[in-house]
């Protein structure tokens, strides 16, 4: 039997039962469509997280006080209360080969007042390197300079959200005075909007010189974070290790259980992609169940078809059809159903992904792999769920099949 003849048989038998074929295909369409849509949502989320983590700064190592157990993730209790990072540590870290910039930071929340408006925001004491390390750019004015650090200048750089909250739209805050914790500060710059990066929103932050923060606002000598920008990605593990040993020596603690932790961006990214991957797999698995249900629908329809057409199978056998011809005919029918369902499912899933990102604001990403995967899975479902009915048809005894009522 030639291929075009098999296709003609398939076409005529599928079109003879349009409603039944259509409903069976619908099962596969929903299955494939939801798998595509769910994977696109998962991959969109993971893409968004990756880009926002990378937006925090490239090749970044973050030194934090307190010890984080490896494998327990980045959440640790009492981290903020630990006061083990000191200004002297900065020089130790700057001497390590491969570090490009070192940015010490001290972070607190304070009440900020300006021209009658009131906001509670994160205030970070920083040095000029902060702008390089954290990839921030100014919309207006200038960033904190070395001279202002030395002179403990009462100057402030505002995040765009804070600027908007305090001064309203259209008003230039540069040169105005704000009060942080009842101390007057002069606004010297406003940052460009960057968007939230997961746990931390740089737009809703104000920056003051580190010395001013330590001496005047917080009254503390310690640091909450030291961010290290490494020259290249390849050097990161080496710098991380050297920094651990150097700081442990400086703090007189065992490097195996130090009183600080160094987290690389890759660790954060790794943890988060693990989360989003699990999330994607979970979504795909839920959608996959509907695909299996669709496959069972195919099998059900094929078994009904085989039973219905028992006499026809008997006739075909009596005029010379071999087992292979019969099984190919029914298998082609099943694969054709899943293939059509697969094509329509990919289109449906794509439309769903676009709609989700349009109306729900969730980033989605339809990848070629997920489309290929969907086609592969739908073809496999056709073969797996079509095989048994096809084999049953092929193994019918022609005499009994011809007598079947």
């Amino acid at each position: 039997m030639k291929i075009q003849d098999i296709f003609q048989e398939t076409y005529s038998s599928l079109s003879a039962n349009k409603a039944r074929s259509g409903l069976t295909i619908l099962g596969i369409v929903i299955g494939i469509g939801s798998v595509i849509a769910m994977i696109s949502i998962g991959q969109g989320a993971s893409g968004q997280i990756t880009s926002s983590i990378e937006g925090l700064g490239s090749n970044l190592l973050t030194v934090m006080p307190g010890f984080i157990q490896p494998g327990r993730g980045i959440v640790s209790s009492g981290r903020g209360s630990a006061q083990t990072l000191m200004n002297e540590d900065i020089e130790v870290l700057r001497q390590i080969a491969g570090t490009a910039y070192v940015s010490p930071e001290l972070q607190r929340r304070f009440q900020i007042v300006a021209s009658g408006n009131n906001t509670n925001s994160t205030v970070i004491g920083v040095e000029p390197d902060y702008a390089e390390v954290r990839n921030i750019a100014l919309a207006d004015g200038s960033f904190i300079t070395e001279a202002q650090i030395r002179s403990m200048g009462r100057v402030v750089v505002l995040g765009p959200t804070v600027a908007l909250d305090l001064f309203g739209e259209g008003n230039d805050p540069i040169g105005k005075t704000i009060r942080i914790n009842r101390v007057n500060f002069k606004v010297i710059g406003v940052l460009q909007a960057k968007g939230s990066a997961g746990f931390f929103n740089p737009d809703d932050t104000v920056f003051v010189p580190l010395t001013t923060m330590q001496k005047i606002l917080a009254g503390a000598e310690f640091l909450s974070t030291i961010a290290i920008s490494v020259e290249s990605k390849d050097l990161m593990p080496q710098v991380q290790e050297e920094a651990t040993f150097a700081l442990a020596e400086k703090h007189h603690v065992d490097p195996q259980s130090p009183d600080f932790s160094i987290i690389s961006q890759a660790d954060i990214l790794g943890t988060l992609t693990q989360v989003t991957d699990t999330f994607t797999i979970f979504l795909a698995a839920v959608a996959g169940i509907s695909l299996i249900v669709g496959g069972i629908g195919i099998m059900n329809m094929m078994l009904t078809t085989v039973t219905e057409r028992t006499r026809e199978i008997g006739l075909r056998k009596s005029i010379g059809a071999k087992k292979k011809d019969i099984s190919m005919q029914f298998l082609t029918e099943a694969v054709m159903l899943t293939f059509l369902g697969g094509v329509m499912g990919v289109i449906l899933g794509w439309i769903l992904a676009v709609l989700v990102s349009q109306f729900a604001g969730i980033a989605t990403q339809v990848s070629l792999q997920s489309v290929i995967l969907a086609f592969g899975v739908s073809a496999a479902i056709g073969i797996i769920f079509g095989y048994y009915p096809a084999r049953r048809a092929a193994s019918l005894n022609p005499i009994e099949a011809l007598r079947y009522e």
Binding site: D5, S12, L315, K317, I319, K322, K323, D325
Partner: protein, 240 residues
């Protein structure tokens, strides 16, 4: 040419053995029109299945065109059926959603014949079974019983088989259309010299053949020429 030598068929269901055929031996030459007659349960269906290569005998030899086909596998039997045997069934067994032409071409599809040649052969076979040309593109379920059976006859002839095997071909038809079908067989026999084996339980139908093999309880009880043969129309070679 068909030759059966001591053919027996035993069906086993559990402990019980049913002897459907007991040492049947006979020979049918090319160009013969034979009726195999017997009441239900006589073993005539079993004999038809063996002659039609749908089944193999438990013992004995069945030679079709001098080839022993009694011990072949299912797929080998399918090949023999495709090349040498044309079936006509009591209930027609046409594909309902296919045109007359497509029904007739179906055996050639499995034989791997090209589309164009299939059409030509099918048209030839339809003309041979006197099927009116106006209906060639009708769906088979739009036809009357007699018309359907002639489509089935054309389908049986399309591969130019050694043997046309008709199983109760008039069983679902009234007397008049039944006679039309029997007339078609007689004409094919006389004009084209086809070998036809007709399986029936009605003596009236069997009398349209040249020779009758009478079977009862698995034994051939009578084998001989029909005495008062019924001829519907005289299809003499010289007339047409």
């Amino acid at each position: 040419m068909i030759e059966c030598k001591n053919i027996s068929k035993v069906y086993k269901s559990g402990e019980i053995e049913t002897h459907a055929l007991k040492n049947a031996s006979f020979k049918i030459n090319d160009g013969e029109f034979v009726a195999i007659m017997g009441p239900s349960g006589s073993g005539k269906s079993t004999l038809m299945h063996i002659i039609g290569c749908l089944d193999t005998p438990t013992s004995g030899q069945y030679l079709l065109d001098d080839k022993d086909v009694s011990q072949l596998t299912d797929d080998e039997l399918a090949d023999i059926r495709m090349q040498k045997i044309g079936f006509v069934f009591q209930s027609f067994n046409l594909l309902p959603r296919a045109t007359v032409l497509r029904n007739v071409t179906l055996p050639l599809v499995y034989a791997g014949v090209s589309r164009e040649e299939r059409e030509n052969k099918a048209k030839e076979a339809l003309r041979g079974s006197a099927f009116p040309e106006d209906f060639w593109n009708h769906y088979s379920n739009q036809l009357s019983g007699g018309m359907m059976q002639r489509v089935a006859i054309a389908r049986a002839l399309v591969n130019n088989p050694t043997l046309v095997l008709a199983d109760e071909p008039t069983g679902n038809l009234d007397t008049k259309t039944g006679e039309m079908v029997l007339d078609t067989f007689q004409r094919l026999h006389q004009e084209q010299g086809r070998t036809i084996v007709l399986i029936t339980h009605e003596p009236y139908v069997a009398e349209h053949a040249e020779r009758v093999i009478n079977i009862r309880d698995g034994n051939i009880v009578e084998d001989g020429k029909v005495k008062n043969r019924r001829i519907i129309n005289n299809h003499n070679h010289n007339e047409k």
